[in-house]
């Protein structure tokens, strides 16, 4: 009984919708950016090879920097996500404790 009502209590809480929306916005933005950067590789290779071949320093060209850069960019996306999620974690923990208090409170009320 107590468990069943807590799901509803959290789900109906206005902060839950905000939490879901925040996480979704963060995840979809990061997904979109990282996939765009990654899928640009085959497009550059096929349609703008001269861009990747442009020499920057000695034999090192844009292609090498762009490809190796994917690793640093990917790592940055991942670290940024983990860092931003700390806020969302805190929000979710607050929501859970608030909802459990109110559910317990409701059940202790005399009818």
């Amino acid at each position: 009984m107590k468990q069943d009502s807590i799901w509803g209590a959290i789900f109906e809480h206005p902060n839950f919708a905000i939490l879901v929306k925040r996480r979704r916005r963060l995840v979809s933005t990061l997904m979109l950016i990282s996939m765009a950067v990654y899928f640009a590789i085959p497009l550059f290779s096929a349609y703008f090879p001269e861009f990747l071949s442009y020499k920057i320093y000695g034999a090192i060209n844009v292609g090498l920097v762009y490809l190796v850069g994917q690793y640093f960019f990917g790592a940055a996306i991942a670290i940024f996500y983990a860092w931003r999620l700390k806020n969302i974690d805190a929000m979710s923990a607050a929501l859970v404790s608030e909802a459990s208090v109110s559910v317990n409170h409701d059940q202790n009320q005399p009818h």
Partner: protein, 638 residues
């Protein structure tokens, strides 16, 4: 008390069986000497086997320790479910960094330059969807498998059964090339015959998984990841130290190397290019030498990037940690370690091209798979030095450990699907005692290992590398749409999930069956006839005096014509491919571009056509658990 005694006896029994298996395997390994030209010379074989034996004993020790610690089904599937995020991340890296990545990719880069990097990046970028979309919600909602997550808000039996089909197929498609490719490489390295290599990978992996479960598998993966990354780092240091870590000077020498220049002009550009030697060297650093079809490349990339997030052996690792935060740390750590290792592998590839030259590498192995071991030998002091051969022995042992660790992870994932999803879930409807579950898990492990060994041996001489791509395609077209839409779409229903799982699997396999990946005898016949005609034209020109050639060269051309005509005449005009096609129906080798969108479309269409009360009614609890992790302790206990 009696229970403890029983556990101890069981452990003792296990360890004595372990010992016997160990002796048998050592016998197998030493009995396989005396073979054709291999990278490890006859004289250095004892040294190599010494390194093998040391690594082998360490892993057996780990398994022994794990077997004593394991007692429950939960231990078997999730190593107790309380690993730290970082440790689990290291194990995921060990699970994911395959021999194909270490040996195959360094070879690709050594032969094709920049395009080799393009190929490997997908395996790293694929962890972004794992981290952002999958790791945390799966930990919050599942117990041992992907099937648990799907069955949470879908019909229990239907979803568990459907996901088992695609997941076992994915694991097998991914596993067979690991075993076969690994055995071929091991044969070229130290001359262990193919069959013995397949059997020893299979038996060793079976010993780890059967006796040590997830605990031993995890430890073997951690050991292997640490050794592999440390060894790659050593090769990078040895490659760059002579240049004082001046990266630009290193690449300057690479494009200035006459071996690389000749290789680009002669082999990669077929000798028809107008490039100067200097330009040809720089061409090695430009795209288009290996990946020539952008559509194919996008299709493969799509399957890689979306498939990893739905690979059963990757998902399974997220159930070994306590909560969503640890799952997040796992995915992040794994991603950083895999990226680091990839960066090392890129340097190793270029260093092999520079120090050994692409010709020497392809002469040893056409696919370039021996570039890294050859480089290790060279950097250690060459074929005649003790250090060089010790390094070579070490690469060989680490490669072997890599194959075993990856195969062990896959076997455990496939076995958990068979035992936990099919038997305990779909057949027994979730009602099975702890003892029954443990027996089911071990029997399933045995079954998967036997299948893997049999398929591995029968695949000798076949090109199975494309199966890896198919594994990713099935994961991305079947598992991922079902998982992602179950997780995030309220109206997703059982019908949609089952349609997506089965449809995605059938579509990806079907598309490969009608693709140019298959053998089309009539096309081979045309190729042979064209080659014969080409040689005949040359002979005609020589006879007319328009082409100068020696008698021996003319003789060679003549025998070519006969050989090709013979090949062509052996193929009847009615010959068709395996499934009865005269020519491929689609031109794509990688089905992802078609099958992934269709997989999503199937889930959406069938969910809208056949909505389910159950899936909707469980949504509230499902969404709250997914976001908050509330109830995760119960999920891990019941």
């Amino acid at each position: 008390m009696t229970k403890i005694n029983r556990t101890n006896r069981l452990a003792a029994l296990r360890s004595s069986t372990l010992f016997k298996a160990c002796v048998a395997l050592a016998g197998l390994l030493t009995a396989s000497q005396g073979h054709a030209a291999t990278l490890v010379s006859e004289a250095n074989r004892p040294l190599t086997f010494g390194v093998f034996a040391a690594l082998f004993l360490i892993t057996l020790g780990i398994t022994f320790w794990a077997a004593r610690k394991n007692s429950s089904v939960k231990d078997f599937y999730t190593a107790g479910g309380a690993l730290s995020g970082r440790i689990n991340g290291l194990a995921i890296a060990g699970d994911y960094l395959s021999a194909a990545a270490f040996l195959g990719v360094s070879g690709l880069i050594a032969i094709y330059g920049l395009d080799g990097i393009t190929y490997v990046i997908g395996f790293f970028v694929s962890f972004i969807p794992v981290l952002l979309l999958i790791a945390e919600p799966c930990r919050n909602l599942g117990k041992y498998t992907l099937g648990d997550v799907l069955a949470f808000r879908n019909n229990f039996r239907a979803s568990k059964f459907a996901v088992a089909i695609s997941s076992v197929l994915v694991a097998l498609f991914y596993m067979v090339p690991q075993i076969v490719g690994g055995a071929v490489i091991i044969a070229a390295l130290i001359g262990i015959p193919f069959e013995i290599s397949v059997v020893s990978v299979g038996v060793l992996m079976l010993v780890y998984v059967l006796f040590g479960g997830m605990r031993a598998t995890t430890s073997v993966q951690i050991l292997k990841a640490t050794l592999l990354i440390a060894f790659c780092f050593l090769l990078v240091v040895l490659s760059w130290a002579p240049y004082g870590f001046n990266v630009s000077a290193f690449f300057g020498d690479l494009v200035g190397s006459s071996a690389v220049q000749k290789h680009v002009l002669g082999t990669l550009l077929n000798g028809v290019s107008q490039l100067s030697a200097e330009q040809a060297g720089q061409r090695f650093m430009e795209p288009g030498l290996y990946l020539k079809n952008p559509l194919e490349q996008i299709s493969l990339s799509l399957a890689l990037v979306l498939g990893t997030a739905a690979m059963p052996h990757i998902l399974m690792r997220f159930f070994t940690v306590r909560d969503a935060q640890s799952a997040r740390t796992s995915a992040l750590t794994a991603m950083l370690l895999i990226g680091l290792c990839h960066l090392f592998i890129i340097v190793i590839g270029f260093s092999a091209a520079l120090h050994l030259g692409p010709f020497a590498i392809t002469a040893m192995d056409k696919g370039g798979n021996l570039a890294a071991p050859m480089l290790a030998q060279f950097l250690g002091g060459g074929a005649d030095s003790l250090l060089g051969n010790l390094m070579l022995a070490f690469v060989a042992a680490v490669s072997f450990a890599t194959i075993v660790a990856v195969v062990a992870g896959l076997t455990l994932a496939a076995a958990s699907t068979l035992a936990h999803d099919v038997y305990v879930g779909a057949v027994r409807q979730g009602k099975a005692t702890e003892r029954e579950q443990a027996t089911a898990a071990r029997l399933a492990t045995l079954a998967i290992a036997i299948i893997a060994i049999c398929v591995g041996i029968s695949a000798k001489g076949q090109n199975v590398a494309q199966l890896v791509g198919l594994g990713y395609a099935v994961a991305a077209s079947a598992n991922l749409p079902a998982l992602l839409l179950t997780l995030y779409w309220r109206r997703c229903s059982t019908a949609g999930v089952v349609a997506g799982l089965l449809g995605g699997t059938v579509l990806s396999i079907g598309l490969v069956l009608v693709s140019p990946n298959m053998t089309y005898p009539l096309q081979q016949k045309q190729v042979a006839l064209a080659a014969a005609a080409k040689s005949q034209t040359k002979i005609d020109l020589i006879d007319k005096g328009a082409l100068v050639a020696t008698a021996a060269e003319r003789e060679q051309l003549l025998s070519d014509v006969t050989k090709q005509q013979q090949t062509a005449s052996l193929i009847p005009d009615s010959a068709t491919s395996l499934i009865g096609l005269r020519e491929p129906l689609v031109q794509l080798r990688n089905p992802g571009l078609i099958s992934i969108p269709l997989g999503f479309a199937l889930v959406i269409l069938f969910s809208l056509l056949f909505p389910s009360q159950l899936s909707q009614s469980r949504w509230v609890e499902f969404a709250v658990r997914r976001e908050t992790g509330l109830g995760v302790a119960q999920a891990a206990q019941h």
